[in-house]
């Protein structure tokens, strides 16, 4: 066989992946289509920028009156309490739910039921869940806490189940080989492998619960959301700015603290 023939017989080293090409083209076409349908134009964007600038100008300076600060402090403290309680109970319940959803530990009927439950918890935004709980238990922090427990459960147990599924089966096998029962395997082979990641998820969820706890109030779930929304509607943009600054400050502090906590549980 000549060299040329030999070359011709070889397969293409980088064959075209038509499925992926079609997917990319489809995405591009849809983006253009959706943009045209939704009346997204440059002119509107420019006008919007102008409005935004006026709006920002009206926010300054932030309102620092004592009575406003008092109101904001009360709301903010309630938001923090919502975040802490929702994280605590949400994460506590995520532990068994996540384990039940892990296909390498739980029998498949249990894993699939747990996954179904998690999917339901994850299907709605916390604000929508808040509306349901406000209807059920009335206005106030309890509704917000329950709503955020649901969203914490959805997020933490789903990712925790994935962490458990990714653990090293050899370590588990070795502990099982000593004659350990399921609970002992859980305590001495599974937990040591996944706990650091679980703490990481918890801290992340706490971060996100702080953010969300400022929102559930808009629909009556307690916390800073209600004063914030009221201030918007009364055009008290200086109060809005004060609240936003405080929220940003708290979230930055939470970010710092969570980084520390994560490092402790390496």
């Amino acid at each position: 066989m000549s060299a040329a023939e030999h070359r011709a017989a070889r397969p293409d080293a980088f064959p075209a992946n038509w499925t992926s090409r079609v997917a990319w083209i489809g995405l591009a076409v849809y983006t253009i289509y959706a943009t045209s349908i939704l009346d997204i134009t440059w002119a509107r964007f420019v006008t919007g920028l102008d409005n935004g600038a006026k709006f920002l100008a009206r926010m300054f300076p932030p309102n620092m009156q004592a009575d406003k600060l008092d109101l904001i402090a009360t709301g903010m403290i309630e938001s923090m309490q919502i975040a802490v309680l929702a994280t605590f109970f949400g994460v506590l319940l995520s532990l068994p739910l996540g384990l039940a959803a892990a296909r390498n530990l739980a029998p498949s009927w249990l894993a699939w039921s747990a996954r179904g439950l998690i999917a339901i918890f994850r299907s709605f935004h916390p604000v929508i869940v808040s509306i349901l709980f406000v209807k059920a238990v009335g206005f106030g922090a309890l509704a917000g806490i329950l709503a955020l427990i649901v969203s914490s459960l959805g997020f933490v147990s789903k990712l925790f189940a994935e962490v458990v599924e990714e653990m090293n089966p050899k370590q588990v096998e070795a502990v099982r080989a000593t004659g350990a029962n399921f609970w002992n395997v859980l305590v001495m082979a599974v937990f040591p492998q996944v706990m650091a990641r679980f703490v990481g998820l918890t801290v992340y969820q706490f971060d996100s619960n702080i953010r969300n706890s400022t929102m559930v109030g808009i629909v009556g779930g307690g916390g800073i959301g209600a004063p914030l929304f009221t201030a918007y509607q009364r055009f008290d943009y200086d109060v809005v700015l004060t609240i936003l600054i405080i929220i940003i400050a708290i979230i930055m502090v939470a970010e710092l603290v969570s980084g520390r906590i994560r490092r402790i549980f390496q």
Partner: protein
């Protein structure tokens, strides 16, 4: 079955895929002493054989007679109780990486200690003392006890693996390629340790091993496997080049 046998395999057969047996009708007696080395080419079922014994792999058919019970038929609590009597040492050590050395050694007691005690690390005092003694005995300093397993070298990890197996107070230790991930010098040290365990602690050891020289040097009995069958069974001195050619197929490697 010979009267003195601790473990008797009878017509053991394992098919991962139906009709394609990895183990074909293995019948063996393992006595309550000595170090038995199983040699043979990769993929010949050595690992499967060892893992069938403590049922990490379920055999397709056959009997595994051990301390008066057929392990092949056990389930649930009875199987776990039987597993407590069989220590296992792994090729990749299989320590729980994020636990300390002594916690890993104490996992050898998990067949006896309830989960809440393990969770609170409230192991019986006698177990903790014994764990320290074993860490010493396998050649690690006691200050290793509180070091995390992922901070150890391969040889040190395998020593912890052996201590964990001994912690079970087993009637038998199975070692699945215990030296294959180690350098030559450390391999010798680990085989020496296993030979010492079988000789001085009177715990019989069955070891899968690729290194024929190590097998010859430390084993009291060699079992040669090829194609899912036992083709040599006898003392290391009786193992000839012809036997090896039969076991591994061809003579080029000799």
């Amino acid at each position: 079955m010979s009267a003195g046998a601790l473990l008797s395999l009878r017509h053991l057969r394992k098919e991962y895929r139906a009709g394609q047996p990895v183990l074909k009708d293995i019948t063996l007696d393992i006595d309550a002493n000595g170090l038995t080395a199983i040699i043979g080419p990769s993929g010949t079922g050595k690992s499967t054989l060892i893992r069938c014994i403590n049922r990490l792999v379920d055999p397709t058919s056959g009997e595994i007679l051990f301390e008066g019970k057929d392990l092949a038929k056990l389930k649930g609590g009875a199987l776990r109780a039987a597993r407590r009597r069989v220590g296992m040492v792994f090729q990749e050590y299989n320590l729980v990486e994020r636990l300390t050395v002594i916690e890993n050694v104490l996992t050898g007691r998990l067949g006896y200690v309830p989960a809440w005690r393990a969770f609170l690390r409230k192991f019986p005092e006698a177990d903790v003392t014994r764990a320290f003694d074993l860490i010493d005995a396998v050649g690690l300093n006691e200050e290793f006890a509180t070091r995390r397993a992922d901070k150890l070298s391969g040889g040190q990890r395998q020593r912890v693996g052996i201590a964990r197996a001994l912690m079970q107070e087993p009637a038998l230790i199975l070692a699945d390629e215990p030296t294959s991930s180690l350098d030559p010098k450390t391999s010798v040290e680990i085989m020496e340790l296993l030979a010492e365990v079988s000789a001085n602690r009177h715990v019989p050891v069955v070891v899968n091993i690729h290194n024929v020289d190590l097998a010859r040097r430390y084993a009291t009995r060699i079992i040669g496997m090829t194609g899912g069958n036992v083709v040599y069974d006898g003392p290391p001195t009786g193992l000839t080049e012809r036997d090896l050619a039969h076991i591994y197929g061809g003579e080029d490697f000799l």
